[in-house]
């Protein structure tokens, strides 16, 4: 018992030290100082919330720091989580820039007045339709909606050219998608805008009654197709390329079909926003500028196979031109419309 007692005292002491040390663990910036009216000085430091994979963004950040000398403290997470975090933090957020994987998140921040406007000379660089309407955020790369189909079981000619055909009985039980995913919801919004509310409602009703496979994420849906458990998946194009890089393109059972001209082939964008407390911060502006520079755009092309939005950079090989997948009449961050989409999906039991 004596040994036990000593052990307990030692561990109690260790615990106290642990608390003290964890209390001193590296903290984010102190509670953000309120924006002053005078121009904010550059402090050589940038706090970034990155809703994208660390392995992807970290090298990009390193290049940025080499170029500009600005240190970046990056917090990684998924875009939805970081968005929820930013909404909860509100004006006290320690972050200065939010790099998001979808436009809806950026739109929700803009709606809550938590972003500051991107200066016109930066915002102009990205063509309209792929960036925000009111300069609340800026588009960085594009991701096309595609159909991924099981190459062993389904011939390419049999895959429909339009998503609207997927409500036919012949596709019953063979189609899968993640209804909670932001890209899917953007696609349904695009369907409502481009084809009209009635057609969209008919499609949602049809697809939900066609015994769809409902998943949580695009990557998992693609895995199902690759394992032969699903015939058709509605995902974003770049997941296929990521998988192919991991296991080799010739080993990919799933194959891609792009849908030019169809709502099902629309392009979502990833984007970045400067948060309200960092208005005018030169470090934040420098980072945004870097994201839409040739260097970074080329980096995204090579590492994620996403579409570059800066005109003049070539898209990855083998993919249809961005122009053919254009998003006319579609505001990607129109949140009111997004809520209506979610209600529509909920009405038919998908959400």
């Amino acid at each position: 018992m004596r040994i036990f007692r000593r052990g307990l005292t030692i561990s109690a002491g260790a615990a106290v030290i642990a608390i003290a040390m964890s209390g001193c663990a590296p903290a984010g910036d102190d509670a953000a100082t309120p924006p002053t009216d005078a121009a904010i000085e550059s402090d050589g430091e940038l706090t970034l919330y990155a809703g994208r994979d660390e392995a992807l963004i970290a090298p990009l950040i390193e290049r940025f720091t080499e170029d500009t000398g600005i240190e970046v403290i990056a917090r990684y997470g998924t875009s939805p989580e970081l968005n929820a975090l930013l909404l909860e933090e509100g004006e006290s957020t320690p972050a200065q820039v939010f790099l998001s994987q979808d436009a809806g998140a950026l739109g929700s921040l803009a709606n809550a007045d938590l972003v500051s406007k991107i200066p016109a000379e930066l915002a102009e660089q990205i063509p309209a339709g792929f960036t925000s309407e009111d300069d609340g955020w800026i588009g960085v790369t594009g991701r096309a909606r595609v159909i991924a189909y099981d190459g062993d079981k389904v011939a390419e000619a049999d895959v429909p050219d339009s998503v609207l055909d997927l409500t036919d009985p012949e596709w019953s039980g063979r189609v899968g998608f993640p209804p909670g995913n932001a890209s899917f919801q953007s696609f349904v919004t695009a369907l409502r805008v481009l084809e009209g509310e009635d057609t969209a409602e008919q499609w949602v009703e049809g697809i939900s009654g066609n015994d769809p496979e409902l998943t949580e994420k695009n990557g998992a849906t693609l895995d199902l197709v690759n394992n032969g458990q699903l015939d058709v998946a509605l995902i974003n194009h770049y997941y296929w390329y990521e998988d192919a890089a991991e296991i080799g393109a010739e080993n990919m059972r799933a194959q891609l079909k792009f849908l030019p001209g169809d709502a099902g082939g629309m392009v979502n964008v990833t984007g970045a926003a400067i948060l309200a407390p960092a208005e005018g911060d030169p470090d934040a502006l420098a980072f945004i500028e870097y994201l839409v520079s040739e260097d970074a755009q080329q980096y995204f092309v090579e590492n994620t196979y996403e579409y570059p939005l800066l005109p003049g950079i070539d898209a990855p090989e083998g993919m249809p031109a961005l122009d053919s997948l254009v998003n006319a009449k579609l505001d990607l961050s129109d949140l009111e419309s997004l809520e209506q989409t979610q209600e529509l999906l909920a009405e038919y039991g998908l959400l």
Binding site: M1, L8, S11, A15, A18, I19, M21, S22, G23, A25, P26, A27, G28, D30, A31, D53, E54, A55, I73, A74, R75, Y76, G77, P80, N83, A84, L85, L87, E88, E89, G90, S92, P94, G104, A105, G180, A182, E213, L214, T215, E216, G219, A220, D223, N227, Q229, E242, D243, A245, E246, I247, G248, L335, E339, Q342, A346, E347, Y348, L350, L351
Partner: protein, 536 residues
């Protein structure tokens, strides 16, 4: 002098066992200071609930009705309840025989199997689910979730029941046999009442765990309330919707806690001094040895062995195996250890007044305080995380995104696990000792510190270990609250499996299992030490 049976029965080692004290239930009112401390601890533990109420309150009644009226809600509710009930039942059906084999039979290599029985505590559910998915990609839905969650949560039943059996007696069984009852009936009459409270308490933990669980059910695509809540935070940008769903979950948790309390209440029976000596028989197994070993090996093999094997197989198969950075791994291990130890200390501090109160005093208020403490366990981590973001930014903004808030979150989240251990350890201390100390002139607090706490220390320590091992695996609250740039092993593992970099995930998974195996090992062995050491 040999002990009375009822006293021995009450000497339960480390886990939520019988809360039956060896004294009369105290009808006196608890001392004001203790009550105040317990209420304070309860209030702190209710921070997530307050947050939920605020969010729900800010949505109108129309919105609440609209959300609850969605066609998917009944299905989600049904799925959640079905899964919780089935996993609890399966864990009990698996855990009680396992505990019996370990405590009451002559099984070879008992020590090894005891440790193996506790080992699934070290595996996060999403890791086990991921391992099973890799081995059998067709697994999905209800049965897959039932399988994996049962495997991972059986130790919550096995360990307390094992402690109860070790401290119990077979004397009552023998009496029943002499009166003509069959062996099974004798077990039911004699041993079962002794282990029933431990089983109930273990079952409560399992049920609340399944209610709040997200990782495994998401991987298996089984729609339950937590997946809907996660989806809501992720896509609807309307946090009120998510809060309303989370409130439904809290109500379910409340029902479960109340049910357990009612069931426990009826088990309040004292085992009179039927036989003078408290002793239990160790049965030989004979030709049942091989099947028994098979049964004992099943849970650890499938809960731990399979995921580990699969991850390492992937390690050699992946083409993009990123170079492992030992510094990063070391830092992650250090962070995990510091944060979980900090969380364990905070959890124990919060649980001490509540456990001490519940052990010695009865009454509605005490029961209410104890129940409130348990509710946070039924909440998904993302809710607790966001509630603490909200709370720390409003109250202590300077501490936001420091390690302290994260350790605090662990404490709040897992405090209920410590309550049970502390309650039973405190109940085990005879009040006669406390009375003696008081007659010698010690004040109430001094008595508590010098006598009760010292004797209950092994139980308190075990409660801390249980919190630590759970905190090491925690994910959603950690994602939200961690200091920017600080990663734990669970975070590193998750971020790699999230983008299918399975090869790179393997070292982190191995490190997590090894680190968490240490407290699991201590938990399985701690009971044995006390049984012999007694109250010295």
């Amino acid at each position: 002098m040999s002990q009375r049976v009822d006293e021995r029965v009450a000497e339960l080692a480390v886990f939520p066992g019988t809360d039956e004290p060896d004294t009369e239930p105290n009808s006196k009112r608890p001392p004001r200071v203790l009550l105040l401390l317990a209420v304070l601890a309860c209030a702190i533990a209710s921070i997530p609930l307050v947050y939920l109420l605020v969010r729900v309150g800010s949505s109108g009644l129309d919105e609440i009705v609209a959300v609850l009226g969605r066609p998917r809600i009944p299905r989600l509710l049904l799925n959640t309840v079905t899964l919780a009930v089935s996993v609890t039942a399966a864990s009990v059906l698996l855990g009680v025989p396992t505990a019996f084999l370990l405590a009451r039979t002559r099984i070879p290599s008992r020590g090894l199997f005891t440790v193996l029985a506790a080992l699934p505590l070290a595996i996060p559910s999403y890791l086990a689910a991921y391992g099973w998915l890799s081995a059998a990609p067709a697994m999905q839905g209800f049965w897959a979730s039932l399988l994996v969650l049962t495997l991972v949560s059986t130790p919550y039943v096995t360990l307390p029941v094992m402690a109860a059996l070790r401290a119990g007696t077979t004397g009552l069984d023998d009496v029943a046999r002499t009166l003509g009852r069959s062996a099974w009936r004798a077990f039911w009459l004699g041993t079962w009442p002794q282990i029933r409270p431990a089983t109930l308490a273990g079952g409560l933990l399992v049920c609340l765990y399944v209610l709040s669980e997200f990782g495994a059910v998401a991987l298996f695509r089984y729609p339950v309330l937590t997946t809907a809540i996660q989806q809501a935070y992720g896509s609807s940008f309307n946090r009120n919707y998510a809060a309303i769903l989370a409130t439904v979950l809290v109500l379910l948790a409340m029902l479960v806690v109340l049910a357990e309390q009612t069931a426990r209440g009826r088990a309040r029976r004292r085992f009179g001094a039927v036989t003078g000596i408290a002793r239990h028989r160790i049965a030989g197994l004979g030709r049942w040895t091989a099947p028994a070993i098979a049964l004992l090996a099943v849970v650890p093999a499938f809960a731990v062995g399979l995921p580990v094997a699969v991850l390492f197989a992937r390690l050699f198969e992946a083409e993009t195996l990123r170079a492992l950075d030992p510094a990063e791994l070391g830092q992650a291990i250090l962070n995990t250890l510091l944060l979980s130890i900090g969380g364990a200390v905070i959890a124990v501090l919060l649980a001490l007044p509540i456990g001490a109160l519940a052990a010695r005093y009865r009454g509605r208020l005490v029961r209410a305080i104890e129940s409130l403490g348990y509710l946070a366990l039924g909440l998904p981590g993302i809710v607790v995380g966001l509630s603490l973001v909200f709370f720390s930014l409003s109250v202590l903004p300077a501490l936001y995104q420091t390690g302290f808030v994260l350790a605090f979150a662990y404490g709040v989240l897992f405090m209920p696990k410590a309550i049970g251990a502390i309650r039973s350890a405190t109940a085990q201390v005879p009040t006669s000792l406390e009375d003696v100390a008081r007659t010698l002139g010690y004040g109430r607090m001094q008595t508590w510190w010098l006598v009760t706490a010292r004797l209950a220390r092994p139980g308190i320590f075990a409660g801390a270990l249980l919190v630590a091992v759970t905190a090491m695996k925690e994910l959603p609250a950690t994602l939200l609250l961690r200091p920017t740039g600080t990663d734990t092993l669970a975070i590193e593992l998750w971020s790699r499996t999230d983008v299918s970099a399975y090869g790179a995930a393997a070292p982190y998974a191995a490190a997590l299992i090894l680190v968490a195996a240490v407290p699991a090992f201590l938990l399985s062995g701690a009971g044995r030490g006390l049984g012999r050491g007694g109250a010295s």
